[in-house]
Symmetry: C2
Subunit: 584 residues, 2 copies
Amino acid sequence: MYLERIKSPKDIKGFTVGQLDVLASEIRRGILNRVSNRGGHVGPNLGITEAVVALNYVFNTPEDKFVFDVSHQIYPHKMLTGRAFGYIDDARFDEVSGYSSPLESPEYDCFEIGHTSTSVSLATGLQKARDLRGGNENIVAVIGDGSLSGGEAFEGLDTAAELNTNIIIVVNDNEMSIAENHGGLYGNLRLLRETSGRAELNFFKAMGFEYLYVEEGNDISCLIEAFVAVKDTPRPTVVHIHTEKGHGYSPAVENKEAWHWCVPFDLSTGNPKGEDTGEYMPALLGEWLREEIKRDSKLVCIAAGVPAAVGFGPKEREEAGSQFVDVGIAEEQAVAMASGMAKGGARPVFSTYATFLQRTYDQLAQDLCVNGNPAVINVIGASIFGMNDFTHICFFDIPMLSHIPNLVYLAPTTYEELIAMERWAICQDMYSVAIRVPEWGVRHSDIEYDTDYSHLNTYRMMRKGKDIAIIAAGDFYRKGENVADMLNENGIEATLINPRYLSGIDENMLEDLKATHRLVVTIEDGCLDGGFGERIARFYGPSDMKVLCFGVRKALYDRYDVNVLMEDNHLTDEQIMADIMTVF
Amino acid sequence: MYLERIKSPKDIKGFTVGQLDVLASEIRRGILNRVSNRGGHVGPNLGITEAVVALNYVFNTPEDKFVFDVSHQIYPHKMLTGRAFGYIDDARFDEVSGYSSPLESPEYDCFEIGHTSTSVSLATGLQKARDLRGGNENIVAVIGDGSLSGGEAFEGLDTAAELNTNIIIVVNDNEMSIAENHGGLYGNLRLLRETSGRAELNFFKAMGFEYLYVEEGNDISCLIEAFVAVKDTPRPTVVHIHTEKGHGYSPAVENKEAWHWCVPFDLSTGNPKGEDTGEYMPALLGEWLREEIKRDSKLVCIAAGVPAAVGFGPKEREEAGSQFVDVGIAEEQAVAMASGMAKGGARPVFSTYATFLQRTYDQLAQDLCVNGNPAVINVIGASIFGMNDFTHICFFDIPMLSHIPNLVYLAPTTYEELIAMERWAICQDMYSVAIRVPEWGVRHSDIEYDTDYSHLNTYRMMRKGKDIAIIAAGDFYRKGENVADMLNENGIEATLINPRYLSGIDENMLEDLKATHRLVVTIEDGCLDGGFGERIARFYGPSDMKVLCFGVRKALYDRYDVNVLMEDNHLTDEQIMADIMTVF
């Protein structure tokens, strides 16, 4: 096996194309070995294997620089840069992350990258720094066709072209985003593919780039020829390569969307290995939304490249018809369009992961909330139980969203409360509403929930006690219940409150607590800094009430174990109980 | 005068082109009357006057919908939709804002708009809602060439084309952004102008649009002809009109950048009416940066369409040469590129207004801070003394920035401290640093400031007292001084602290205060919710220390009087003093 002996790309410089082909097969086996055992990005990595081999053969890293967009296609690069063990040695999977990471390889990975459409922009910085320094290394940004829909990619292309010096942008066109592509741009990519890049009408040329097309994007010799041709070019250049997503593994080729990313699976059948983990709240929400679409012709569900976030697979999208819109990986567009739809009398619901909502902060604040248009934003995965990669942490949403003026941010505690809030949010026409979809399992309840949430910032008292009041938000409400039970066992009849609103406080209820309570405890499934609890601490600051806030310390976390994270942050029920007793 | 009699666009439907020309002249006089007396956007409005007259003549608002990007070109539209008094009647300027506003005209203004590159995205929402409803009104988005550099505009174009139904995008190409345009795209706009729109290489066609070019964008009959041709089109269509920024007022034509926006001026000479208001902190910072550029060949100043934010006018930009980069109105690119530059060994400094930094939240969090690259972000105008329009409020920056993991957010109190922090931030290589440039006048000090801020979150005690400690941040530090003086007069020797860091707390110092103090007062020039003070309130929550936070309540504010705002929020020195005495 070549792969075991390759410590750096220098080791493949003398390879023949035949040897490189064998190497590509080994890499592909490495990818499949890892993803079938650990899960991960399948299709993008399989599709770009030959291109990454050719890039590492032609260019001279670490002098030349590669920047891989989203890092969904970085596995082959990792295998060629001293990290093959993370793919071929089952005992060492943990040593390699799923993303580009200079912490892992300062020499060969330029940036920590997990969000989309960033590679060109980041690369222009390397380009500019090189030009200032008078260097002559090649700057190579790799970007998928799907990632081109993000505004940041466009901004990056715009600058790259204007700098008018060496930068090589490899557009990896596998005719797919995570799902299918969306946007007018993709008509041009199709035209370019159909004309082998010869069409006069060329988006990249219009942006000011030199342009080269490679039809056989999974053929190493064709790729080498193209990369040799553009190496050391003095001009901004796009190399548009046509690849096959999932290349070399037929299940992934046949169902490209399902195999973009996967859980561990049986390599021979393609079937998932794990057991069905039961109900999943975003999926239940998606089911409800799809039923609601049938009842309400004004309802439109919007996705930004991740339609599966609330369960819109190919079949569900087809059924929803014109009441489903995927704008591509373009969160800014999703939010602004939602605002426009609401203004136009439709009932838009945009659902995406908390970490990607970060990409549209200004559109939330300006296009949506300054206008007060009644669109609904479902915030998915916003929890310590959400994604746990460095670049995908989802529990900074409360600091981000809850302070935006005019945004109502709701935190349901159960499925039934989620649906009650969702229904109200969709049907009302006064407020821009975000809803934090619970991520920590699925709880049900037969409590009667309010149907009207327009009287903002009214908390709900679930148990009336004295001395200690626990305000526990969203899916950590159950922690509040547990702690209240424990206090009860210790003879303390605590008050328990479901705050429901993350974007404001119930001043009346908080004021009333002063008479009979001396400690208020806040519990939230998110970052303490800028979180829900701090606002309550401020409210009580001038009073004698003591306040104890539980949540996660502000920091960067990478591939954490959620139980360890909880313990480190004093978030187990027992720790909360103990801390309360220390103060009380 | 026609203008006085026009209550709605219906009143001009029977006009001849000759009458419309006269009307355009009246509108132009109205614009100049308002801006010469009140200040405002000059060049964009003068340049688009004929186009707006033609749009209102051809299309039937309010059934048809217009969405004006940034609203820099909306004055003529306001004059034709019942708000001419705000331009021709000097007593009624206050009744009309400078921006598109449904609060002002629910019929004729679709959205509150003040940020750039949003019109197409917002319009796609109206487009989709119309299609769902089966309506047939025209959706018209107006966007300037400068605004096309923003990623949101690209995302909007991408979706608009894919929807493949009626939407008309008027690209108002005056060959200028606020300053000159930047980006590869502008080469294509030039080519299209030079070929009267006939070049095969066409960005808009590549995106999937029908395309029409109008060379004489200040000629009403040419514009009418074009708009009539595209009215009721079933296809996404771009009408590219070539206009002259500042048309009809020679000073504005001759110096387009200076006349994009202006303070009140003498109409005959073009000279500003007001007195020189003396030193301005961002300008002083710009001077320092320009000197530093000469000393440090690695330093690069970055602007995103507003180079004047720290005083980079045409001359200064030329002097800075390759050490200055304007990426166009593309904040995402500015931040990601800065991260890349820092990685590449340059020393990037990106300066922009707080309200526009919102447009790049994810790039700050991901492209920059997850990587920890040592770029510097100067946050301009972040203060209640900054811009006061609805869409431009600048005092939500602390909730936005201070909770982003790995971002060091500094708040200097004087010019000398600003420069000390700036110098450190530029030269160090450990942290991503944002600096809140003081906006409330310019204070100087001969205090010796630290030169090293790498020991994060160390507050500086300026006066050691007891009982009450005042922690006053940034340009509100002076309020802390004033209140400490007042307390002193009342026999209370208060402690006074300059926190310097907005992104974390000095736990040691705060802990020490417990022994000899019983009240901590925080004062910040910004929003209370998610602000600096709340973190301190949380720290002291479980203790006996009382905390009183001063700042601005979370809300939307529009054209506020800063003194009224201060009083409403108990921010005068006297009010702060009185509130302290109530609690103490």
